[in-house]
């Protein structure tokens, strides 16, 4: 009950006017220099950790960070030619600093490397979404947020559900690490979005390419890291308030976070955070989509005890969401489906706006408890031990089933996952950084009501080791991993209990090289292998999918899917230009996918198309390009293009659901500060998505939709209110209210995509109490 008292106490504090006694208007000016020759390092990235500020130095290597509250900060400085370095500074009044970046971390002596663990940045191309660019998408679901990142697309099921897609892969082929823990949700359907609070992340990192060795053999397409801030370590109580309202769906989303460190209890720090989201029917340019409301309630808290030589922390998060599924997309058999395709406007298109969510809908619950500890085993090495428990409950309520009028779901799945990890990591010992470790998971799935996938018990074990050799002009990395998985399923077939057991195991390898011939160029190459065991639905599913009337049948004879990947990327940063090119290729052996069976299944409810799982060799390749250029000091132009190709090597037909070619271009105008207005910007942008012409024959219900062109704009500023920075931003998506359908939307068979949406967002960090 102490906890509740604390919360009440904090709220009282929040309401009291003494709140604004702290001044958060300190300015940190600085310059980034090359440690060896004291040359200015222009266009270096300066990132204040645990803070939204991310900026670039000017051509002289100078930067200016405004609106800092007094306290201790960690500042990460990155420059193409140098090693990423973190500088720790304490700021009580505005001041000026000089950061010297080493080429080689062995040379460092006068720089304090902070206690917090920083991930060794992989050789793969990785992208971070944080600061202003994350603020502009706050409150949207995870996949929509990640669409800002090069090479990431989203596979959606109507306007309320979407899954991230990296390098043309989604679902089982990519991993999401929520606060360092592999997200274990019900991943077996395209209508199952990741169960993650859209406000919890302060930083979203996308690592593209097969990252099997480090994160798990099945991280074939890539990995998404969802990271909250580090906990504060100075005695204080601070917080952040986020609120957003959006026109399409007439929805709202908001979050409140409080964190602090106790003055009396040194080394302890804490955080509580909660968020709410609610919206109603989404509107396409011509009609409302009935029953597309959404309700979400999420919260998390963390408590940590941390000393220089090690510590323990506990983190808990809970996600509750109720997601309406467009009623006009809910169809019976093949005849209904064909009728739905023939309609110009979907059934139910006359329905008015409503917040109510009725069948069909999904109710999803996810909780994560993480206990982690780390301790020093020397000056530059540490052991990390982590245990996590996840519960996931997913209920699907159907419109016409036997339970339609009751409050019983048509189907329910309960997934429990225990995972544990222990690894040893060393930093910069004789130019080597590396990690060795063991991971294990134990998982149980239990279903209720209708059968789609069986009950199962699965366990996995992984052992891995990787080393990175770091020099000023190049870095080399190699890793090796062994994984074993066993899966026992339990289900009835003709009143007989079936208990099939499968064992899978394999090795994964990875090697990578980074070359930095000159300061403005970073070239990276990597190659690796990965594999994944067939998932439970690919093996044993037997039933109809929610929404699209397709009958999915598993194939119990499937074996493991393996892949070899090779990728290259070039990053060029010189004065006003930043350019990045990525290219990758995957060769799959026994790629698992589904094919329609020639005869539909005939039942009393009519005929249903049947899809069977099978495996074949396949190839997947792609490239993307990003270019930005400062036309003027306050005007930048940016463009991106994404291409993905997938080929079934046996039939020479394209793979289904590959993202269409996509082009984006935008301008960023920034304005000098005027009065209380700071950091003003306006960013108009356009997106063109080509028609997907590479599709397999007879695998889809309808041909892909036409190409489309969208216009959007966002603008924002930071306003000082009683010395607190309030950031306001306005984003307009689909400004021209264009009617379009996207190939990667599973509901494109039934309805248009959403029309114009205007988001207004407010964000304010605040200080309730500070020791000084």
């Amino acid at each position: 009950m102490l906890f509740i008292k604390q919360v009440i106490f904090v709220f009282i504090l929040f309401l009291s006017s003494s709140l604004f006694s702290q001044s958060c208007d300190l300015v940190l000016k600085g310059q980034v220099l090359d440690e060896d020759n004291s040359q200015d390092l222009g266009y270096a990235v300066v990132r204040v950790l645990d803070h939204p500020t991310v900026m670039q130095t000017n051509e002289k290597g100078e930067f200016e960070i405004k609106d800092l509250c007094p306290g201790k900060y960690r500042i990460l400085v990155q420059h193409v030619g140098c090693s990423d370095t973190i500088f720790a500074i304490t700021i009580n009044k505005s001041k000026k600093v000089v950061f010297k970046l080493p080429h080689n971390l062995n040379a460092l002596n006068d720089i304090e490397i902070v206690a917090e663990h920083e991930e060794i940045k992989p050789v793969h191309s990785s992208h971070v979404l944080e600061g202003k660019s994350l603020d502009q998408v706050k409150g949207m679901n995870l996949a929509e947020q990640l669409r800002q990142v090069n090479g990431v697309s989203a596979l959606s099921t109507g306007p309320t559900i979407s899954k991230p897609m990296i390098n043309g892969m989604q679902g089982y082929r990519i991993l999401i690490l929520n606060n360092g823990i592999r997200q274990e949700g019900q991943q077996w359907g395209s209508e199952h979005g990741p169960e993650i609070d859209p406000f919890v992340a302060q930083r979203l990192t996308v690592i593209r390419g097969a990252s099997s060795v480090r994160y798990g053999s099945d991280a074939l397409g890539g990995v998404i890291l969802v990271e909250p801030d580090h906990l504060p370590d100075t005695a204080s109580v601070t917080g952040e308030f986020n609120a957003g309202g959006f026109s399409n769906g007439r929805g709202g989303a908001g979050s409140l976070m409080l964190q602090g460190s106790f003055a009396k209890l040194k080394y302890f720090s804490w955080r509580v955070q909660g968020s709410l989201k609610k919206s109603g029917s989404v509107k396409t340019p011509e009609y409302f989509l009935n029953n597309t409301g959404l309700e979400e309630q999420n919260f998390s808290y963390a408590l940590s005890y941390h000393r220089k030589k090690g510590g323990v922390s506990v983190y808990y998060s809970q996600v509750n969401s109720r997601i309406g599924i467009f009623s006009g997309a809910h169809v019976g058999n093949l005849t209904d489906l064909q009728l739905a395709f023939k309609r110009n406007k979907p059934a139910d298109s006359l329905a008015p706006f409503s917040y109510s969510i009725s069948s069909p809908f999904q109710q999803v619950f996810h909780e994560l408890l993480k206990v982690s500890s780390d301790f020093h085993t020397g000056n530059r090495s540490r052991i990390f031990v982590t245990y996590a428990l996840q519960h996931n409950k997913r209920q699907e309520f159907d419109a016409h089933g036997e339970h339609a009028e009751e409050l019983t779901p048509e189907s329910e799945y309960r997934l429990t996952t225990h995972s544990a990890e222990i690894f040893w990591e060393h930093d910069h010992i004789r130019s080597f950084r590396g990690r060795v470790g063991v991971q294990g998971t134990y998982q149980e799935n239990v279903y209720r009501e209708n059968f789609f996938i069986p009950n199962y018990i699965s366990s996995t074990t992984g052992v891995f080791a990787m080393e990175r050799f770091v020099r000023s002009k190049f870095e080399a990395e190699a890793g090796i991993r062994f994984d074993a998985k066993n899966l026992q399923s339990f289900y009835y077939k003709e009143q007989q209990l079936q208990e099939p057991k499968r064992d899978f195991s394999n090795m994964s390898y990875h090697a990578g090289l980074i070359l930095k011939p000159v300061n403005s160029v970073r070239l990276s190459f990597n190659g690796g292998t990965g594999w994944r065991a067939p998932s439970v639905n690919e093996l044993y599913s037997n039933g109809l999918h929610h929404g699209v009337s397709a009958y999915e049948k598993g194939n119990a004879d499937l074996g493991i899917e393996t892949c070899w990947q090779a990728a290259a990327s070039l990053l060029f940063k010189h004065k006003k230009i930043t350019a990045e090119i990525n290219a990758y290729n995957y060769w799959f052996k026994n790629y698992i996918y589904y094919v329609p069976s020639p005869e539909p299944e005939v039942t009393l409810r009519g005929a249903f198309p049947v899809f069977n799982y099978t495996q074949n060799d396949a190839r997947l390749s792609g490239a993307d390009v990003m270019l930005s250029y400062f036309l003027l000091r306050n005007l930048a132009i940016k463009g991106r293009a994404i291409y993905v190709r997938g080929i079934n090597a046996n039939t020479n037909e394209p793979l289904i659901y590959m993202p269409a070619d996509r082009y984006e271009a935008g301008l960023t105008f920034t304005f000098s500060d005027k009065g209380v207005f700071r950091n003003m910007f306006i960013e108009p942008a356009v997106t063109y998505v080509a028609k997907q012409t590479r599709v397999p024959q007879d695998l889809d219900f309808l041909p892909p939709p036409d190409a489309y062109f969208l216009v959007g704009v966002s603008a924002g500023s930071t306003i000082r209110i009683k010395q607190m920075p309030l950031t306001i931003s306005l984003t307009v998506a689909n400004l021209t209210n264009t009617v379009y359908r996207d190939y990667l939307d599973r509901f494109r068979y039934f309805n248009d995509a959403a029309g114009t949406n205007v988001w207004l967002r407010l964000k304010m960090p605040f200080v309730l109490y500070d020791k000084k």
């Binding site: 102490l2 009835y492 409810r605």
Partner: protein, 208 residues
């Protein structure tokens, strides 16, 4: 130290709060008998002159898509009874009966359809591409070989289709006959396009 103790207690509470009974995966649910399942679709034809009764059915033992789907009865092996034999220039009275035979005694689902007549309609056609907005009470199969007339209506005076009159003319024609029960909860207006399909069966009609 008191705070430390409190924090410790809080931790215990947190950990205990995570205990959830999600059930034993080793004991999956037995395939249950659903309540509103339709396992059997029966057509009962009575000759208006002789009073002779013929019946045909399509049956799916568990009403699910598993286990090989549906079969025509009573001879599952040959499925010979999928052909409805009619005499030329005759009048038949037809009754459709829907049963759930997974429960004992069998549940007559067609009674519930009658109760909710304003939400259901049975359509007759020789393929679903030919179902136009029908002259509400007469459906023509083929070239007037078989005329099916609705004999029952709901409260809104719209046809239901559980009882119909079939009138045959010239002989020598074989036509597929599709019978579709639509659930049109809020939008029944006599058209086929609305609502979802509850039952869809296909027979062949032979007049000779």
């Amino acid at each position: 130290m008191k705070i430390l103790l409190n924090i410790f207690i809080l931790l215990i509470v947190v950990l205990a709060g995570c205990q959830r009974n999600y059930g034993d995966p080793r004991k999956p649910p037995l395939p249950e008998e659903a309540e509103e399942l339709v396992t059997t679709f029966k057509i009962i034809l009575t000759d208006s002159v002789s009073g002779a009764v013929k019946s045909y059915f399509l049956r799916d033992d568990d009403g699910e898509l598993n286990n090989g789907g549906a079969y025509y009865g009573p001879d599952a092996a040959t499925q010979s009874d999928s052909v409805i034999m009619l005499s030329p220039n005759s009048v038949y009275y037809c009754e459709i009966i829907l049963l759930n035979e997974t429960v004992i005694p069998a549940d007559t689902v067609s009674h519930e359809i009658k109760e909710h007549a304003d939400e259901h309609m049975i359509f007759y056609a020789h393929s679903n591409n030919t179902i136009l907005k029908p002259d509400p009470y007469t459906v023509q199969i083929g070239d007037s070989v078989l005329v099916i007339e609705y004999l029952d209506k709901d409260d809104n005076n719209l046809p239901l289709g559980l009882t119909t009159r079939w009138v045959t003319s010239a002989s020598g024609t074989v036509r597929p006959l599709q019978i579709i029960l639509k659930h049109q909860e809020e939008n029944k207006d006599g058209t086929f396009e609305n609502g979802e399909t509850d039952v869809e069966v296909r027979f062949t009609c032979r007049v000779d």
